[in-house]
């Protein structure tokens, strides 16, 4: 089962590539009542303490493949974010996050074309304390 919170407790960790910590990642479940094709995902804004990453920066992993936001939109009808599959959000950030407790704030943006244009995209904010283990 997934956690009720959008930001999941499990899966918060630093990313190590070639012996270097190049960033961190965490899991978010779909915040909306419906799954969507990648074309409707408008990004995720992430804040940890004083640091902020705008919607265009975080990388998305869905179905085991990692995408930039631009790649996600281009994936059109080929990639689908399901309700039972959390997206892995990866933030490029040299050194990653220090071991310990951090406040993560996110805002996920998703288009719902059945809402009148002024109401798009839908914004789903979520915040949680998470723990990085050394």
């Amino acid at each position: 089962m997934l956690e009720r919170e959008i930001i999941q407790n499990r899966g918060v960790e630093n990313v190590v590539e070639g012996g270097e910590v190049t960033g961190f990642r965490f899991l978010v479940r779909m915040p909306n009542y419906r799954g969507v094709f990648a074309r409707l995902i408008d990004g995720i804004e992430v804040r940890v303490g004083d640091l902020t990453w705008p919607r265009e920066v975080p990388l998305w992993t869905l179905g085991g493949t990692q995408y930039t936001l631009a790649e996600l939109k281009a994936a059109h009808l080929d990639v689908h974010w399901d309700l039972d599959e959390p997206a892995v959000i990866t933030i490029p950030h040299a050194g990653g996050l220090a071991p310990g407790i951090h406040d993560i704030d996110v805002e996920i943006a998703i288009h719902a074309p059945y809402f009148p244009p002024p109401f798009r995209p839908s914004l789903f904010p979520s915040a949680r304390k998470v723990t990085v283990i050394a």
């Binding site: 009542y33 408008d42 281009a74 399901d82 059945y114 109401f119």
Partner: protein, 310 residues
């Protein structure tokens, strides 16, 4: 001999937030069966793992669970996200293909109606004009699969509106029995709901759930012959089994009196507090059964034309 009865179902939309966190599909079906409902409605993109291409094993599991819980698939909700303003849009051909794929998947899973929700182009929810060619291109396929395509009449669009007029004109022009209206009972809302919907702005709430549309029952009577499915939308049934928003007595009376023989499928849309959807659906079913019994007693309609529940 079974007494005549409305056909009751439950949409998994009612359990939004609970699905995948505290409810498996198996649990959800057990819950639906436990309120005495016979039908299950789903959202394809939400409830089918690896949509749009579920694993064959999952399809087998779906049918096995239906058997085990004694449930019948009713409506399958789909989306045709044309009119997208945040990136490349769908072409009409792509829209046709999307609806085709959903009709085929819905039929594979045993559903008898499908609700495509089209992108809109106005504040009054006028659907993208491509809705008509997209539906028309799929009418024969729907007929082959025994599936009825039902666009949803949803607040803030009332029944007396060009959107509905256009759908009815389409039914009359094509003569197809595979296109009908879906009524979302939110259009009968009489009081504002304070329930907050994730992802919807304050303005969106003001234009939607906080502004009761209060469509009169006579409008429902007028279009009832064209109605293929009813989503029993509601927000909150209180501790005294009173629903302050939706006039269930009038709705049940209208449906019983006029011999509606389609599904009435619970669609809870109140606060998304864990387990609340399950409690509220149970309350709604207690309320609807007692109202139906009262109405049938009052009107002597127990011998009406309704099919017995199977």
């Amino acid at each position: 001999m079974n007494a005549p009865s409305l056909k009751y179902g439950v949409s998994l939309y009612s359990y939004t937030g609970d699905m995948n966190t505290v409810l498996t599909l198996d649990d959800a079906m057990a819950e639906i069966a436990s309120v005495g409902a016979a039908g299950i409605e789903i959202l394809g993109e939400s409830n089918v793992p690896r949509y749009p291409e579920p694993a064959p094993a999952w399809i087998d599991q779906w049918h096995g669970l239906l058997d085990r819980h004694g449930l019948e698939p009713t409506n399958y909700c789909s989306w045709v996200d044309i009119g997208h303003t945040g990136g490349p849009d769908l072409t009409t051909e792509e829209g046709v293909a999307v609806l085709r794929r959903d009709i085929e998947l819905a039929a594979t899973l045993g559903f008898t109606t499908i609700r495509p929700k089209f992108g809109v182009v106005s504040m009054e929810l006028d659907p993208h004009p491509a809705w008509e060619p997209i539906v028309e291109a799929n009418l024969d396929l729907a007929a082959d699969h025994g599936v009825v395509i039902c666009p949803e009449i949803h607040a803030p669009t009332p029944i007396k509106h060009r959107v509905v007029d256009d759908y009815i004109a389409f039914i009359e022009r094509t003569g197809s029995p595979n296109f009908r209206l879906m009524i979302d009972t939110g259009i009968f809302q009489r009081e504002a709901s304070t329930a907050v919907q994730p992802g919807v702005s304050e303005e969106g709430h003001k234009g939607g759930w906080m502004t009761p549309l209060a469509v009169p029952m006579s409008d429902l009577v007028d279009v009832l012959p064209y109605v293929g499915f009813i989503q029993a939308k509601f927000f909150d049934i209180d501790d005294d089994l009173v629903d302050p928003q939706i006039p269930w007595r009038e709705i049940v009376e209208t449906l019983v009196t006029h011999g509606y023989d389609g599904w009435l499928s619970s669609e809870y849309e109140g606060e998304r507090i864990p387990y609340r959807g399950q409690e509220q659906v149970r309350r709604q079913h207690a309320l609807l059964r007692s109202l139906e019994a009262e109405v049938r007693a009052d009107t002597g309609s127990a011998q009406g034309g309704q099919r017995p529940r199977t």
